[in-house]
């Protein structure tokens, strides 16, 4: 039955994260934007404690949890939907801080999507430790972003029972926190067979403190400044054989294709989209709040010819925001119900990237001198927004994925 009712676990996570957003994030939002790369330990420690109370990593193996607590079966699986609500709400608070959450984000998503049960247990249990840890995903290289899979120069060579990694990864979100500031890990995508192109690319877990893995640089960015964006250098970096994600038997063959990364993106793109829409909602809420303070009421139900320009703008924003959010929910619902969601994941990402950029840009414009001022956070959201149309696949790459899906074309037929 078609329904949009929120189940209790989701209502709970929304309430909890809303409190965090209002009390732990908004008050320090400006400070951490002004102090790029200063680590928000207060927020991190609070989130660490909160996530411990909620049972550790937010990305976990749903089935395993159920085995432990059979009484939880009264709800259908909502793990990814819950994560989407959490990402949306925390990004409504502050998306830069959200990206510093020690709860298992993109790296954990990769482990969750491609790891064996043993690997999931081993790597995700870190988030249940005494101290907060972070995770990241290392894909982009200086010469190749979206084209990384086929053009990767990062290599993994098997030497005895160890993989030896060499290469340079850039734009690793929370890379510094994962490798230097905590006992976290990153998932590095490297090729085990450079001749095989994208088919040779595999995910590897590189843990903090591994010799040969360094973080020589963090970027200075337009927005999401609380979150570090790191360069990761791998120089004869040796990791255990078992750190290759997935079943080793299959991984020895190189013809199987680049499925792991795709599975990861199917899980992570809707969550990035959810986070984008948190910023969009923050901007729209702020716009409405200022209009209300000015005594401007926004009427509903009128034809366009009777609306003020502001009413038109706001209703268009509501259409964009809500419809984009429903795409996110559907993509996550499919994930939760083990339905293939590659198309829907990219759809939600395209739409959310567009929507957050448009809404923040329009809101700054409509609010004139207020919108442009650093007295308020809106200008920051304008800057934070744009990353969502870039990371986890640009809007263009995701359009390409959608187009191939709907047209039933291969990469060679449509590039």
């Amino acid at each position: 039955m078609i329904s949009f009712e929120l189940v209790k676990p989701i209502v709970n996570v929304r309430n909890m994260t809303q409190m965090v957003a209002e009390n732990m994030m908004r008050p320090v939002s400006r400070y951490y934007d002004d102090h790029e790369h200063e680590i928000p330990w207060d927020y991190i420690n609070f989130m660490h404690d909160a996530s411990q109370q909620m049972g550790g990593a937010f990305v976990t193996d749903e089935e395993e949890k159920k085995e432990e607590k059979p009484e939880k079966k009264k709800y259908p699986p909502v793990g990814y939907q819950r994560l989407a609500h959490m990402a949306e709400m925390l990004s409504w608070g502050d998306t830069g801080l959200y990206l510093c959450s020690p709860v298992g984000l993109l790296g954990a998503a990769a482990v969750s999507a491609t790891g064996t049960p043993e690997q999931k247990k081993r790597f995700l249990s870190r988030f249940s430790g005494e101290k907060p840890v972070f995770d990241g995903m290392a894909m982009t290289e200086p010469h190749a972003g979206s084209e990384m899979p086929s053009q990767t120069r990062t290599t993994a060579v098997l030497d005895g029972d160890e993989w030896v990694l060499n290469g340079e990864k850039i734009f690793v979100t929370a890379g510094h926190k994962s490798l230097i500031d905590s006992d976290g890990f990153i998932v590095v995508w490297a090729t085990i067979d450079p001749e095989a192109g994208r088919a040779g690319v595999r995910p590897f877990v590189v843990e903090a403190g591994t010799p040969g893995c360094t973080v020589p640089n963090v970027e200075h960015k337009l927005g999401i400044r609380a979150s570090d964006t790191a360069t990761v250098l791998l120089q004869d970096c040796r990791i255990p054989f078992g750190n290759i994600l997935g079943s080793p038997e299959i991984e020895k063959k190189t013809k199987k294709g680049f499925k792991g990364a795709m599975a990861t993106f199917d899980a992570s793109r809707p969550l990035v989209a959810a986070s984008a829409l948190g910023i969009a909602r923050a901007a729209l809420d702020f716009l409405k709040e200022i209009l209300k303070e000015e005594g401007i009421t926004l009427r509903s139900g009128l034809p366009r010819s009777r609306m003020t320009n502001l009413e038109r703008e706001v209703i268009d924003m509501e259409v964009m925001l809500r419809s984009a959010w429903l795409l996110v929910l559907k993509a996550c619902w499919m994930m939760d119900n083990k339905k293939p969601n590659n198309l829907e994941a990219s759809m939600s990402k395209v739409r959310a990237g567009d929507v957050v950029v448009k809404i923040t840009q329009r809101a700054v414009e409509l609010l004139g001198t207020i919108g442009y001022s650093k007295e308020h956070l809106l200008e920051k959201w304008f800057r934070d927004a744009k990353i969502n149309d870039l990371y986890e696949g640009t809007g263009q790459i995701n359009r390409l994925i959608v187009a191939r899906r709907i047209l039933d074309y291969t990469r060679h037929e449509l590039s």
Binding site: E5, E318, L327, A403
Partner: protein
């Protein structure tokens, strides 16, 4: 809990409507538009699907529970087939649904049954008005209580089948509030004008209707002495029109997509060019996003959520823009052929522009 899966009954109804739309409505659409008429048999066949009847409780002669969600699922399929056809088949819904939502028990018992138990008959609503900035909440057509009667004055447009209507549900402004009245087409002072010529939906015969001191009895007011809350009726109408728009857009998008895979230029199908492929991708995303918006609004209506009316309005706004965006692009992708009436896309573009004016013609 969140779910995006229709029930089995809904899926069965959707399948039946789908078959009707692709086997009957779609093949008839072009000629019907040119000839400005549908064959009665076609309407009757669509009527027999029981879309409206499935939304009427047994006590009033139907065989289901009122569900806006079921309604929008069916409306989308009709919109895919042909909007004019969908509006024609469902014209009686714009008469019956307001009665179901706002009528007194007696009105529901007496007025619904004759419509739904018989073959398709033109029980219709008179809702829209000629002013460019027509707003359902502030109608120019007035109703005034005079003694034991209401007296109606004003002009309505876009009244389907007004020339042979069995009965007309007339919406009018009563002391600043939109209310509705059951009016016999034979009433004195009621004058059906010329058949309208429109940009689109040409196969749907619509008329202007004038009311000059048309007097109806006290009992003709929907909801009796208390009247009814028009917001729910507007909302049901808004999501219905929006759902037709989703179906129309899906049809245009699918046609353009298939065409782009066939049509070759510069050594290959034009769908293999990003300029075309990205247009199609954006159309597909837009349609899916707005479809969910319509579903949610319909669900809110069914659940009696406080913001259901606003959600329905938001859905209609989104669907109106989507329909224009998608149908315009469909024409663009077909290039010169898009402009030729032998191909269906120019009709869809003309129909698409009408979505914001279709509420009142249809309801779920």
């Amino acid at each position: 809990m969140s779910s995006f899966e229709p029930t089995e009954e809904q899926a069965m109804l959707v399948d039946a409507v789908k078959r009707y739309s692709s086997n009957d409505l779609r093949p008839a659409a072009h000629d019907a538009d040119e000839e400005r008429e549908f064959a009665f048999d076609l309407l009757e066949k669509g009527w027999e699907l029981g879309i409206l009847q499935a939304s009427i409780p047994e006590e009033y002669g139907g065989f289901g529970d009122h569900s806006a969600v079921t309604g929008v699922l069916a409306a989308e399929e009709l919109g895919w087939g042909d909007i004019a056809g969908g509006l024609a088949v469902m014209a009686p819904a714009a008469y019956v649904i307001p009665i179901l939502l706002g009528g007194t028990e007696e009105q529901k018992k007496n007025l619904i049954l004759p419509v739904i138990e018989a073959e398709w008959k033109p029980y219709v609503a008179a809702f829209n008005e000629p002013q460019f900035d027509f707003y359902a909440g502030e109608m120019s057509t007035t109703a005034q209580l005079e003694g034991e009667n209401y007296v109606l004055n004003g002009e309505k447009v876009r009244v389907p089948f007004a020339d042979k209507a069995e009965s007309i549900l007339v919406f009018a402004n009563l002391d600043g509030k939109t209310q509705a009245f059951i009016v016999s087409p034979d009433a004195e002072g009621l004058q059906v004008g010329e058949r309208e010529a429109l940009l689109g939906i040409q196969a749907l015969p619509t008329y202007s209707v004038r009311f000059e001191n048309v007097t109806v009895p006290f009992e003709a007011r929907l909801g009796g002495e208390e009247g009814f809350d028009p917001e729910l009726v507007f909302a049901s109408s808004n999501v219905a029109a929006a759902a037709l728009g989703v179906g129309l857009s899906r049809g245009a998008y699918e046609y353009a997509r298939d065409y782009a895979k066939e049509r070759e230029a510069f050594g290959g199908p034009i769908a293999q060019k990003q300029s075309i492929a990205f247009m199609l991708a954006e159309m597909a995303i837009e349609i899916e996003a707005i479809r969910l918006l319509v579903w949610e609004a319909a669900w809110k209506l069914d659940e009696g959520k406080e913001d259901a009316s606003h959600a329905a309005y938001v859905a209609l706004t989104g669907a109106s823009d989507m329909a224009m965006m998608v149908t315009d692009r469909a024409v663009q992708i077909l290039g010169g052929y898009g402009y030729i009436r032998e191909y269906p896309v120019e009709l869809w573009m003309r129909n698409g522009r009408g979505i914001p004016t279709f509420p009142g013609l249809v309801s779920v």
